[in-house]
């Protein structure tokens, strides 16, 4: 296969399930991921510029962990996750994925034909529990579809597997002949999870899986995700805007701002001492669910800049209270300021934000 990278070891035989190969590297490694959308104008649809939705994102996801990807709307977190799923084609960069067979492939450049067999390994959980299930198909057909297209042609066999999956997510298997319209938002989200798990995926991209749910249902779904991860050794890329939810579920967290990764750290380290002023401001902005803790100090002024026309230097400098002349002139690079703690700030490690 042309996309096997020689520098990551020779491509193993397809059947290999060698522990030494698995120990070799992360499950997913994203390098310099970029996705630009052209801005067109006029009758002839001339391209006049680009929205730099994702503009150089690097991170790794280890097998069995949950990486939280957090940021405000328009920061590129959803676009980045869709690139990893190859729901959209990235403009540049590499998405190195270690397959079940132990080979490392670059999802960013994989042709459709070679991508198809990998679809079973990388699945997605959607935000909207109402839009993500086909309303015209029963649960059996909705949840069973990934099985069918991945070769399980026998309907009986499929029904057994769907029953097992429904039980796994806490739904009664008898429900499989019902249509999605018979279920509440929380139940539909469970159905969506069952579908994502149908093909025994290794990497699950969860795009705001609880933000459309009621408070009393959110906790149920978060618990389910944690339990499934432990039981099935899943790896999660958890995309969300709610900092407290991301904190609860993630081992490590990546913070995005205007298409760039600004900070990446283990959850505890990130919350103990954020190394980027934007992360710190984001934390301060979350209203504490305790009237005795007064939040609202150090509120970030201004607005998120447009990814079509980002500021010079550090994208955050116009809103940053630590900004100096250097920040306007010079774009900081993502660098490791403590073991496993990366920040895209000139002053990371020197100042407390």
């Amino acid at each position: 296969m042309s996309d096997v990278l020689p520098d990551r070891g020779p491509p193993g035989p397809l059947t290999t399930h060698d522990a030494s190969l698995e120990a070799r590297g992360p499950l997913l490694e994203v390098r310099g991921l970029r996705k630009f959308f052209p801005i067109t104008r006029g009758f002839l649809q001339r391209t006049v510029g680009h929205v730099r939705a994702v503009d150089g994102v690097d991170f790794t996801v280890e097998e069995g962990e949950t990486l939280g990807l957090v940021g405000e709307s328009g920061c590129g977190k959803t676009t980045a996750s869709r690139c990893i799923l190859r729901a959209i084609d990235p403009t540049g960069g590499q998405i190195l994925y270690r397959t079940r067979a132990g080979r490392v492939v670059d999802l960013a450049n994989l042709p459709q034909a070679e991508l198809l067999p990998l679809r079973a390994e990388i699945q997605m959980i959607f935000q909207d529990p109402f839009g993500s299930l086909n309303p015209r198909m029963t649960l059996l057909d909705n949840v069973g579809e990934p099985l069918l297209v991945n070769g399980m042609k026998n309907r009986r066999e499929r029904a057994d597997r769907v029953a097992e999956l429904l039980r796994l997510v806490g739904l009664r298997p008898e429900f499989m002949h019902r249509f999605p319209h018979a279920f509440s938002g929380g139940q539909r989200q469970r159905i969506g999870i069952a579908r994502a798990l149908a093909t025994n995926p290794r990497l699950v991209v969860a795009d705001e899986p609880v933000s459309a749910l009621d408070v009393s249902i959110q906790a149920q779904v978060l618990n389910l995700l944690l339990e499934l991860q432990a039981r099935l050794k899943l790896t999660f890329l958890f995309v969300a805007h709610d900092l407290s939810v991301v904190r609860h579920i993630s081992d490590r967290i990546a913070v995005m701002y205007v298409g760039q990764l600004v900070e990446l750290a283990p959850t505890d380290a990130l919350f103990r001492q954020p190394q980027h002023p934007y992360t710190a401001a984001l934390m301060r902005a979350v209203p504490a669910a305790d009237p005795r803790v007064k939040s609202g100090d150090g509120i970030l002024g201004g607005e998120v800049p447009s990814p079509a026309d980002p500021p010079s230097g550090c994208y955050f400098h116009p809103r940053c209270r630590h900004a100096e002349a250097r920040c306007k002139a010079e774009a900081p690079a993502l660098r490791e300021v403590a073991p496993g703690h990366f920040s895209r700030c000139h002053f990371a490690g020197e100042r407390v934000f």
């Binding site: 799923l85 729901a87 198809l116 067999p117 679809r119 079973a120 990388i122 699945q123 997605m124 959607f126 935000q127 909207d128 839009g131 993500s132 299930l133 086909n134 309303p135 015209r136 029963t138 579809e145 990934p146 297209v149 991945n150 429900f175 002949h177 019902r178 249509f179 319209h181 018979a182 969506g192 579908r195 149908a198 093909t199």
Partner: protein, 371 residues
């Protein structure tokens, strides 16, 4: 809202396992006017299948001595017994106008019976039979339920045959439009890019051409020596060539919207092929809308055919369609002397209304998820 006459747990279970088509049907059922119209349309399509069975006479049979006979109503009872008959008519030439004037002769009754025998015809062009819904007991008698025209042809039988032509033109033209609209609209919406632009410009071009002149031009271009069947198909194709554009637009819009739906993305991520996504996920989602739109398009086609034929540019005699029948009622003399020759117009109105009511009912029922 799904408005169903159901309550309680059992009903909840029934709704839970109800497919989209069932939900549509449950909702459509509540639309009494639409259901009644649907029944009427089904009856009309039965006529389409076998117009001769419903006819009392050969629609082509002329007899100048029996022109302009008024309606002859069927009476079911004779002296309190079930014995259907129609009153006979006698003609007397008016000495001043030299016109035949027909009056019912109450002393003479023409006995008729149901499922009697009459002229020979072929069911679907295959099985020869001489059975008719209503026939005079004496095969040599002629009855004119809806009167006769200037050539003494039986209007009732001619309307039956006109129904076959006009309703078929509507259905076939819409079916062709749907095929063209779904295929071209679908390609436009799914492929996008230059193909999309090209199809969109084509639709705009077709829509910007005034329809009446284009029909006039196309119909005038049809060779005079074509058989009625050839003309018939040519007219159908002409109607659908112009008619698909609206549907094409709609399908394209639906495709564009559906492409962004989460469940379509989910299917892609599950590894479904393009064809499966289109056939299994996208088409069923807007199929109910297409059916509703089509049932609203059929009456437009019927009106178009009628108008063309009325102008003498569509289906021409000896073929029979509602438009052809109306064409013969084109002069003021008819209005004054034989107003029953306008009955085909009434039939057109009833058919068009019925299609519109069914279409509206379907459209309302089509999306159980809209609320």
């Amino acid at each position: 809202m799904t408005t169903l006459d159901l309550a309680g747990k059992e009903a909840e279970d029934r709704i839970a396992v109800a497919s989209n088509w069932k939900l549509v049907w449950w909702r459509f059922r509540r639309h009494h006017l639409a259901v009644a119209s649907a029944v009427l349309l089904i009856f009309m399509y039965l006529i389409v299948l076998a117009p001769d069975f419903f006819s009392t006479q050969d629609p082509e049979r002329t007899d100048a001595r029996q022109a302009f006979i008024p309606l002859q109503a069927v009476h079911l009872f004779d002296d309190g017994k079930l014995s259907p008959w129609v009153p006979a008519v006698v003609g007397k030439r008016n000495p001043t106008t030299l016109r035949m004037e027909w009056t019912a002769d109450p002393t003479r009754k023409i006995a008729v019976h149901f499922f009697g025998t009459g002229y020979k015809w072929k069911l679907l062009g295959l099985f020869e039979t001489d059975r008719h819904l209503i026939a005079p007991v004496d095969p040599n008698q002629r009855i004119f339920l809806l009167g006769s025209d200037r050539l003494g042809r039986d209007q009732w039988s001619r309307i039956m045959h006109g129904t076959q032509t006009s309703m078929t033109v509507g259905l076939v033209a819409v079916a062709l439009s749907v095929v063209l609209g779904v295929v071209l609209g679908g390609i436009s919406g799914y492929v996008g890019g230059k193909t999309d632009s090209f199809i969109q410009r084509l639709i705009e071009l077709l829509q910007s051409v005034p329809t009446i002149p284009i029909w006039l031009a196309l119909s005038a271009a049809l060779p005079r020596d074509w058989t009625p069947t050839q003309i018939f198909f040519a007219i159908t194709v002409i109607l659908s060539l112009v008619g698909w554009t609206t549907l094409g637009r709609e399908v394209r819009g639906r495709f564009l919207a559906l492409r962004e739906e989460d469940f379509v993305l989910a299917a892609r991520l599950a590894g479904c092929s393009r064809l499966r996504i289109i056939l299994r996920h996208m088409v069923p989602t807007f199929m109910s809308h297409i059916i509703a739109t089509s049932s609203l398009a059929i009456p437009v086609m019927i009106i178009n055919e009628t108008s063309l034929s009325f102008l003498g540019l569509g289906i021409r005699p000896p073929a029979i369609s509602w438009g052809v029948l109306l064409q013969e009622a084109q002069n003021i003399q008819t209005l004054a002397l034989a107003p029953w020759l306008l009955i085909p117009g009434l039939v057109v109105i009833v058919a068009v209304l019925a299609f519109n009511l069914v279409g509206d009912g379907l459209r309302d029922a089509a999306d159980p998820y809209s609320h």
